[in-house]
Protein backbone atom coordinates (compact mmCIF):
# COMPACT_ATOMS: atom_id res chain seq x y z
CA UNK A 1 0.00 0.00 0.00
CA UNK A 2 1.32 3.45 -0.84
CA UNK A 3 0.27 4.58 2.64
CA UNK A 4 3.17 2.59 4.14
CA UNK A 5 5.94 2.81 1.59
CA UNK A 6 5.61 6.06 -0.35
CA UNK A 7 8.84 8.08 -0.22
CA UNK A 8 6.81 11.29 0.21
CA UNK A 9 5.10 10.19 3.46
CA UNK A 10 7.31 12.18 5.79
CA UNK A 11 7.13 15.41 3.81
CA UNK A 12 3.37 14.97 3.61
CA UNK A 13 3.21 14.79 7.41
CA UNK A 14 5.45 17.83 7.80
CA UNK A 15 3.25 19.82 5.46
CA UNK A 16 0.21 18.57 7.40
CA UNK A 17 1.64 20.05 10.61
CA UNK A 18 2.40 23.35 8.88
CA UNK A 19 -1.00 23.62 7.18
CA UNK A 20 -3.01 22.47 10.20
CA UNK A 21 -1.03 24.72 12.51
CA UNK A 22 -1.68 27.74 10.30
CA UNK A 23 -5.34 26.72 9.99
CA UNK A 24 -5.71 26.51 13.78
CA UNK A 25 -3.89 29.81 14.28
CA UNK A 26 -6.05 31.75 11.79
CA UNK A 27 -9.25 30.14 13.06
CA UNK A 28 -8.58 30.70 16.74
CA UNK A 29 -7.21 34.23 16.52
CA UNK A 30 -9.24 35.86 13.74
CA UNK A 31 -12.11 33.88 12.28
CA UNK A 32 -13.90 32.18 15.16
CA UNK A 33 -13.86 35.17 17.57
CA UNK A 34 -15.64 37.16 14.85
CA UNK A 35 -18.34 34.50 14.51
CA UNK A 36 -18.63 34.36 18.30
CA UNK A 37 -19.04 38.13 18.52
CA UNK A 38 -21.83 38.06 15.93
CA UNK A 39 -23.64 35.36 17.89
CA UNK A 40 -23.12 37.23 21.16
CA UNK A 41 -24.39 40.45 19.61
CA UNK A 42 -27.50 38.62 18.47
CA UNK A 43 -28.05 37.00 21.86
CA UNK A 44 -27.58 40.39 23.56
CA UNK A 45 -29.95 42.05 21.10
CA UNK A 46 -32.59 39.37 21.62
CA UNK A 47 -32.38 39.51 25.40
CA UNK A 48 -32.47 43.32 25.31
CA UNK A 49 -35.55 43.19 23.09
CA UNK A 50 -37.17 40.67 25.41
CA UNK A 51 -36.33 42.89 28.36
CA UNK A 52 -37.85 45.90 26.59
CA UNK A 53 -40.94 43.89 25.73
CA UNK A 54 -41.28 42.79 29.34
CA UNK A 55 -40.92 46.39 30.55
CA UNK A 56 -43.51 47.53 28.00
CA UNK A 57 -45.91 44.84 29.17
CA UNK A 58 -45.43 45.96 32.76
CA UNK A 59 -46.10 49.54 31.72
CA UNK A 60 -49.18 48.49 29.81
CA UNK A 61 -50.42 46.49 32.79
CA UNK A 62 -49.89 49.48 35.08
CA UNK A 63 -51.70 51.75 32.63
CA UNK A 64 -54.56 49.28 32.40
CA UNK A 65 -54.84 49.10 36.19
CA UNK A 66 -54.80 52.90 36.32
CA UNK A 67 -57.49 53.05 33.66
CA UNK A 68 -59.61 50.55 35.57
CA UNK A 69 -59.23 52.53 38.77
CA UNK A 70 -60.09 55.76 36.97
CA UNK A 71 -63.14 54.14 35.39
CA UNK A 72 -64.34 52.81 38.73
CA UNK A 73 -63.81 56.19 40.34
CA UNK A 74 -65.64 57.99 37.54
CA UNK A 75 -68.50 55.52 37.76
CA UNK A 76 -68.78 56.02 41.51
CA UNK A 77 -68.69 59.77 41.06
CA UNK A 78 -71.33 59.63 38.35
CA UNK A 79 -73.54 57.45 40.51
CA UNK A 80 -73.15 59.82 43.43
CA UNK A 81 -73.99 62.76 41.16
CA UNK A 82 -77.06 60.95 39.81
CA UNK A 83 -78.22 60.06 43.31
CA UNK A 84 -77.76 63.68 44.43
CA UNK A 85 -79.62 65.01 41.40
CA UNK A 86 -82.45 62.52 41.96
CA UNK A 87 -82.73 63.48 45.64
CA UNK A 88 -82.62 67.16 44.73
CA UNK A 89 -85.31 66.73 42.09
CA UNK A 90 -87.43 64.69 44.50
CA UNK A 91 -87.12 67.36 47.18
CA UNK A 92 -87.95 70.09 44.70
CA UNK A 93 -90.93 68.17 43.36
CA UNK A 94 -92.17 67.56 46.88
CA UNK A 95 -91.78 71.20 47.77
CA UNK A 96 -93.60 72.24 44.64
CA UNK A 97 -96.34 69.71 45.30
CA UNK A 98 -96.68 70.98 48.84
CA UNK A 99 -96.80 74.58 47.67
CA UNK A 100 -99.39 73.65 45.06
CA UNK A 101 -101.44 71.76 47.68
CA UNK A 102 -101.28 74.69 50.02
CA UNK A 103 -102.33 77.07 47.26
CA UNK A 104 -105.13 74.75 46.15
CA UNK A 105 -106.44 74.22 49.68
CA UNK A 106 -106.31 77.98 50.19
CA UNK A 107 -108.35 78.43 47.02
CA UNK A 108 -110.71 75.65 48.14
CA UNK A 109 -111.10 77.35 51.50
CA UNK A 110 -111.78 80.67 49.81
CA UNK A 111 -114.28 79.04 47.46
CA UNK A 112 -115.98 77.26 50.34
CA UNK A 113 -116.15 80.55 52.23
CA UNK A 114 -117.66 82.23 49.19
CA UNK A 115 -120.13 79.34 48.79
CA UNK A 116 -121.16 79.52 52.44
CA UNK A 117 -121.66 83.30 52.29
CA UNK A 118 -123.66 82.85 49.12
CA UNK A 119 -125.70 80.13 50.80
CA UNK A 120 -126.17 82.19 53.91
CA UNK A 121 -127.29 85.02 51.72
CA UNK A 122 -129.63 82.65 49.89
CA UNK A 123 -130.87 81.21 53.18
CA UNK A 124 -131.60 84.60 54.66
CA UNK A 125 -133.34 85.55 51.42
CA UNK A 126 -135.43 82.35 51.75
CA UNK A 127 -136.52 83.54 55.18
CA UNK A 128 -137.68 86.92 53.88
CA UNK A 129 -139.41 85.34 50.83
CA UNK A 130 -141.08 82.68 53.00
CA UNK A 131 -142.21 85.31 55.53
CA UNK A 132 -143.66 87.48 52.78
CA UNK A 133 -145.38 84.48 51.11
CA UNK A 134 -146.74 83.25 54.45
CA UNK A 135 -147.95 86.75 55.37
CA UNK A 136 -149.72 87.04 52.03
CA UNK A 137 -151.27 83.54 52.43
CA UNK A 138 -152.37 84.19 56.01
CA UNK A 139 -153.82 87.57 55.16
CA UNK A 140 -155.70 86.07 52.21
CA UNK A 141 -157.08 83.29 54.44
CA UNK A 142 -157.90 85.19 57.59
CA UNK A 143 -157.91 88.78 56.46
CA UNK A 144 -155.00 89.95 58.47
CA UNK A 145 -151.71 88.77 59.53
CA UNK A 146 -149.56 89.27 62.55
CA UNK A 147 -146.24 89.93 60.94
CA UNK A 148 -144.22 89.03 64.05
CA UNK A 149 -145.99 85.69 64.60
CA UNK A 150 -145.61 84.72 60.97
CA UNK A 151 -141.96 85.65 61.00
CA UNK A 152 -141.21 83.53 64.10
CA UNK A 153 -143.24 80.60 62.75
CA UNK A 154 -141.34 80.67 59.48
CA UNK A 155 -138.09 80.92 61.38
CA UNK A 156 -138.99 77.92 63.54
CA UNK A 157 -140.05 75.85 60.56
CA UNK A 158 -136.86 76.73 58.69
CA UNK A 159 -134.77 75.91 61.71
CA UNK A 160 -136.57 72.55 62.23
CA UNK A 161 -135.77 71.59 58.58
CA UNK A 162 -132.25 72.03 59.43
CA UNK A 163 -131.49 74.78 57.05
CA UNK A 164 -128.07 75.77 58.09
Amino acid sequence: MPQFQDPLLLSQAVWLLIIFGAFYFVLSSFVLPRVGSVLEDRAARISADLEAARASKQQADAALAELNAATAKARAEAQAAIAAAVADANAKAQAEAEALNAKLSQQIDAAEARISTARDAAMSAIGTVATETATALVSKLIGHADANAVQSAVGRSLASRGAA
Partner: protein, 251 residues
Protein backbone atom coordinates in the same frame (compact mmCIF):
# COMPACT_ATOMS: atom_id res chain seq x y z
CA UNK B 1 -0.69 -4.93 -4.78
CA UNK B 2 -1.20 -3.34 -8.18
CA UNK B 3 -1.19 -6.28 -10.56
CA UNK B 4 -0.82 -7.23 -14.21
CA UNK B 5 -2.73 -6.02 -17.22
CA UNK B 6 -6.51 -5.80 -16.81
CA UNK B 7 -6.52 -6.56 -13.10
CA UNK B 8 -8.17 -4.23 -10.66
CA UNK B 9 -5.87 -1.47 -9.47
CA UNK B 10 -7.58 -0.07 -6.37
CA UNK B 11 -4.54 1.30 -4.57
CA UNK B 12 -2.77 3.56 -7.05
CA UNK B 13 -5.28 6.27 -6.10
CA UNK B 14 -3.42 6.60 -2.80
CA UNK B 15 0.00 7.26 -4.37
CA UNK B 16 1.59 10.57 -3.57
CA UNK B 17 2.98 12.87 -6.25
CA UNK B 18 4.52 16.27 -5.91
CA UNK B 19 2.44 19.05 -7.34
CA UNK B 20 2.74 22.77 -8.23
CA UNK B 21 5.52 22.09 -10.70
CA UNK B 22 9.25 22.36 -9.86
CA UNK B 23 8.55 24.62 -6.87
CA UNK B 24 6.34 22.00 -5.26
CA UNK B 25 8.82 19.30 -6.17
CA UNK B 26 11.67 21.18 -4.50
CA UNK B 27 9.81 21.22 -1.16
CA UNK B 28 8.05 17.86 -1.67
CA UNK B 29 4.64 19.49 -1.68
CA UNK B 30 2.23 16.66 -2.64
CA UNK B 31 -1.26 16.66 -4.09
CA UNK B 32 -2.38 15.49 -0.62
CA UNK B 33 -1.05 18.73 0.87
CA UNK B 34 -2.68 20.71 -1.92
CA UNK B 35 -6.05 19.21 -0.94
CA UNK B 36 -5.35 20.16 2.67
CA UNK B 37 -4.88 23.71 1.44
CA UNK B 38 -8.16 23.53 -0.51
CA UNK B 39 -9.96 22.34 2.62
CA UNK B 40 -8.43 25.08 4.75
CA UNK B 41 -9.25 27.75 2.16
CA UNK B 42 -12.85 26.52 1.81
CA UNK B 43 -13.42 26.54 5.57
CA UNK B 44 -11.79 29.93 6.08
CA UNK B 45 -13.74 31.36 3.12
CA UNK B 46 -17.00 30.02 4.48
CA UNK B 47 -16.35 31.39 7.94
CA UNK B 48 -15.15 34.84 6.77
CA UNK B 49 -17.26 35.50 3.66
CA UNK B 50 -20.28 33.87 5.28
CA UNK B 51 -19.94 36.04 8.36
CA UNK B 52 -18.94 39.11 6.34
CA UNK B 53 -22.36 40.69 6.58
CA UNK B 54 -22.57 40.14 10.36
CA UNK B 55 -26.30 40.16 9.74
CA UNK B 56 -28.71 40.02 12.64
CA UNK B 57 -30.89 37.67 10.61
CA UNK B 58 -28.44 35.35 8.83
CA UNK B 59 -28.63 34.51 5.14
CA UNK B 60 -27.86 31.03 3.78
CA UNK B 61 -24.07 31.21 3.86
CA UNK B 62 -24.03 32.89 7.26
CA UNK B 63 -26.55 30.32 8.46
CA UNK B 64 -24.20 27.53 7.35
CA UNK B 65 -21.21 29.15 9.05
CA UNK B 66 -23.19 29.72 12.23
CA UNK B 67 -24.58 26.16 12.27
CA UNK B 68 -21.05 24.77 11.96
CA UNK B 69 -19.92 27.02 14.82
CA UNK B 70 -22.87 26.18 17.05
CA UNK B 71 -22.75 22.46 16.24
CA UNK B 72 -19.14 22.16 17.42
CA UNK B 73 -19.66 24.59 20.29
CA UNK B 74 -22.63 22.51 21.47
CA UNK B 75 -20.57 19.33 21.25
CA UNK B 76 -17.67 20.83 23.21
CA UNK B 77 -19.87 22.32 25.93
CA UNK B 78 -21.90 19.13 26.25
CA UNK B 79 -18.87 16.84 26.49
CA UNK B 80 -16.29 18.98 28.29
CA UNK B 81 -18.47 21.54 30.06
CA UNK B 82 -18.18 25.32 30.22
CA UNK B 83 -14.40 25.15 30.78
CA UNK B 84 -14.16 23.38 27.43
CA UNK B 85 -14.93 26.57 25.52
CA UNK B 86 -11.21 27.39 25.59
CA UNK B 87 -10.54 24.34 23.44
CA UNK B 88 -13.39 25.01 21.02
CA UNK B 89 -11.16 26.42 18.22
CA UNK B 90 -9.01 23.28 18.41
CA UNK B 91 -11.98 20.91 18.09
CA UNK B 92 -13.49 23.10 15.37
CA UNK B 93 -10.27 23.04 13.36
CA UNK B 94 -9.98 19.25 13.74
CA UNK B 95 -13.60 18.56 12.78
CA UNK B 96 -13.56 20.84 9.75
CA UNK B 97 -10.16 19.58 8.58
CA UNK B 98 -11.25 15.94 8.76
CA UNK B 99 -14.73 16.58 7.36
CA UNK B 100 -13.44 18.55 4.36
CA UNK B 101 -10.73 15.94 3.77
CA UNK B 102 -13.33 13.16 3.70
CA UNK B 103 -15.88 15.05 1.58
CA UNK B 104 -13.42 16.59 -0.90
CA UNK B 105 -12.04 13.10 -1.48
CA UNK B 106 -15.39 11.99 -2.86
CA UNK B 107 -15.12 14.44 -5.79
CA UNK B 108 -13.76 12.92 -9.02
CA UNK B 109 -9.96 13.35 -9.45
CA UNK B 110 -9.69 14.59 -5.88
CA UNK B 111 -7.26 13.13 -3.34
CA UNK B 112 -8.43 11.95 0.08
CA UNK B 113 -5.72 13.01 2.52
CA UNK B 114 -7.56 11.30 5.42
CA UNK B 115 -6.87 7.97 3.67
CA UNK B 116 -3.22 8.24 4.70
CA UNK B 117 -2.30 6.81 8.08
CA UNK B 118 0.50 9.35 8.33
CA UNK B 119 -2.06 12.16 8.17
CA UNK B 120 -4.62 10.62 10.53
CA UNK B 121 -1.89 9.59 12.97
CA UNK B 122 -0.43 13.09 12.76
CA UNK B 123 -3.81 14.54 13.71
CA UNK B 124 -4.29 11.95 16.48
CA UNK B 125 -0.81 12.73 17.80
CA UNK B 126 -1.67 16.44 17.85
CA UNK B 127 -4.82 15.54 19.81
CA UNK B 128 -3.08 13.33 22.33
CA UNK B 129 -0.18 15.74 22.87
CA UNK B 130 -2.60 18.63 23.34
CA UNK B 131 -4.79 16.64 25.71
CA UNK B 132 -1.83 15.47 27.79
CA UNK B 133 -0.47 19.01 27.84
CA UNK B 134 -3.82 20.34 29.04
CA UNK B 135 -4.01 17.67 31.75
CA UNK B 136 -0.45 18.39 32.95
CA UNK B 137 -1.04 22.15 32.93
CA UNK B 138 -4.28 21.86 34.91
CA UNK B 139 -3.35 19.11 37.37
CA UNK B 140 0.45 18.93 37.42
CA UNK B 141 1.66 15.71 39.05
CA UNK B 142 -1.91 14.72 39.95
CA UNK B 143 -2.32 13.85 36.29
CA UNK B 144 -0.40 10.61 36.89
CA UNK B 145 -3.06 9.61 39.44
CA UNK B 146 -5.18 9.10 36.36
CA UNK B 147 -3.37 5.80 35.77
CA UNK B 148 -4.21 4.45 39.21
CA UNK B 149 -7.83 5.08 40.28
CA UNK B 150 -8.30 6.14 43.90
CA UNK B 151 -9.56 3.42 46.25
CA UNK B 152 -8.19 0.52 44.22
CA UNK B 153 -6.24 -1.96 46.37
CA UNK B 154 -2.52 -1.27 46.25
CA UNK B 155 -1.53 -4.82 45.36
CA UNK B 156 -3.46 -4.40 42.09
CA UNK B 157 -1.18 -1.53 41.04
CA UNK B 158 1.18 -3.73 38.97
CA UNK B 159 -1.82 -4.81 36.88
CA UNK B 160 -3.91 -1.63 36.77
CA UNK B 161 -1.14 0.83 35.95
CA UNK B 162 0.17 -0.98 32.84
CA UNK B 163 -3.40 -1.52 31.63
CA UNK B 164 -4.25 2.16 32.09
CA UNK B 165 -1.01 3.26 30.42
CA UNK B 166 -1.58 0.98 27.46
CA UNK B 167 -5.20 2.12 27.10
CA UNK B 168 -4.05 5.75 27.23
CA UNK B 169 -1.37 5.16 24.61
CA UNK B 170 -3.74 3.21 22.38
CA UNK B 171 -6.00 6.25 22.07
CA UNK B 172 -4.05 7.88 19.22
CA UNK B 173 -3.77 4.52 17.49
CA UNK B 174 -7.49 3.77 17.57
CA UNK B 175 -8.30 7.37 16.68
CA UNK B 176 -6.04 7.36 13.62
CA UNK B 177 -6.65 3.77 12.43
CA UNK B 178 -10.44 4.16 12.62
CA UNK B 179 -10.45 7.16 10.29
CA UNK B 180 -7.75 5.79 8.01
CA UNK B 181 -9.39 2.35 7.64
CA UNK B 182 -12.84 3.79 6.97
CA UNK B 183 -11.56 6.09 4.26
CA UNK B 184 -9.35 3.48 2.58
CA UNK B 185 -12.09 0.83 2.62
CA UNK B 186 -14.63 3.22 1.14
CA UNK B 187 -12.38 4.41 -1.66
CA UNK B 188 -11.14 0.90 -2.48
CA UNK B 189 -14.75 -0.30 -2.77
CA UNK B 190 -15.68 2.65 -4.97
CA UNK B 191 -12.69 1.98 -7.19
CA UNK B 192 -13.34 -1.77 -7.40
CA UNK B 193 -16.97 -1.34 -8.43
CA UNK B 194 -16.05 1.45 -10.83
CA UNK B 195 -13.54 -0.93 -12.44
CA UNK B 196 -16.27 -3.58 -12.69
CA UNK B 197 -18.42 -1.10 -14.59
CA UNK B 198 -15.68 -0.57 -17.18
CA UNK B 199 -14.74 -4.25 -17.42
CA UNK B 200 -18.35 -5.46 -17.80
CA UNK B 201 -19.15 -2.78 -20.34
CA UNK B 202 -16.54 -4.33 -22.61
CA UNK B 203 -18.21 -7.77 -22.58
CA UNK B 204 -20.00 -7.68 -25.94
CA UNK B 205 -23.79 -7.15 -26.17
CA UNK B 206 -24.92 -7.95 -22.64
CA UNK B 207 -21.98 -6.13 -21.07
CA UNK B 208 -23.48 -2.63 -20.88
CA UNK B 209 -26.65 -4.06 -19.30
CA UNK B 210 -24.68 -6.05 -16.75
CA UNK B 211 -22.49 -3.06 -15.95
CA UNK B 212 -25.57 -1.21 -14.70
CA UNK B 213 -25.44 -3.43 -11.61
CA UNK B 214 -22.08 -2.25 -10.19
CA UNK B 215 -22.92 1.25 -11.40
CA UNK B 216 -26.09 1.41 -9.31
CA UNK B 217 -24.16 -0.13 -6.42
CA UNK B 218 -21.57 2.64 -6.74
CA UNK B 219 -24.31 5.29 -6.67
CA UNK B 220 -25.60 3.84 -3.42
CA UNK B 221 -22.03 3.55 -2.08
CA UNK B 222 -21.46 7.22 -2.86
CA UNK B 223 -24.34 8.19 -0.57
CA UNK B 224 -23.05 5.79 2.06
CA UNK B 225 -19.54 7.25 1.81
CA UNK B 226 -20.97 10.74 2.28
CA UNK B 227 -22.53 9.52 5.51
CA UNK B 228 -19.26 7.88 6.56
CA UNK B 229 -17.35 11.06 5.71
CA UNK B 230 -19.50 13.07 8.09
CA UNK B 231 -19.73 10.35 10.71
CA UNK B 232 -15.96 9.78 10.92
CA UNK B 233 -15.32 13.52 11.27
CA UNK B 234 -17.94 13.58 14.02
CA UNK B 235 -16.41 10.57 15.77
CA UNK B 236 -12.95 12.12 15.57
CA UNK B 237 -14.20 15.37 17.06
CA UNK B 238 -16.32 13.80 19.79
CA UNK B 239 -13.52 11.45 20.90
CA UNK B 240 -11.25 14.49 21.11
CA UNK B 241 -13.90 16.12 23.31
CA UNK B 242 -14.09 13.04 25.54
CA UNK B 243 -10.30 12.97 25.94
CA UNK B 244 -10.38 16.69 26.71
CA UNK B 245 -13.06 16.02 29.34
CA UNK B 246 -10.78 13.43 30.96
CA UNK B 247 -7.90 15.90 30.85
CA UNK B 248 -9.95 18.71 32.41
CA UNK B 249 -11.74 16.65 35.05
CA UNK B 250 -9.44 13.57 35.47
CA UNK B 251 -12.23 10.94 35.51
Amino acid sequence: MAAEGKAIDALSQFELNTTLGPLGASVNFTQSNLHMLYAVIIVLALMTIGMGARALVPGRLQGLAESAYEFIMGMVVEQVGEEGKRYFPFVFALFMFVLLGNVLGLLPYAFTYTSHIVVTFGLAAIVIITVTGVALARHGWHFFGYFFPEGAPLWLAPIIIPVEVVSYLSRPLSLSIRLFANMVAGHVMLKVFATFVVMLAGLGVVGPVLSLLPLSLNVALMGFELLVAFLQAYVFAILTCIYLHDAVHLH
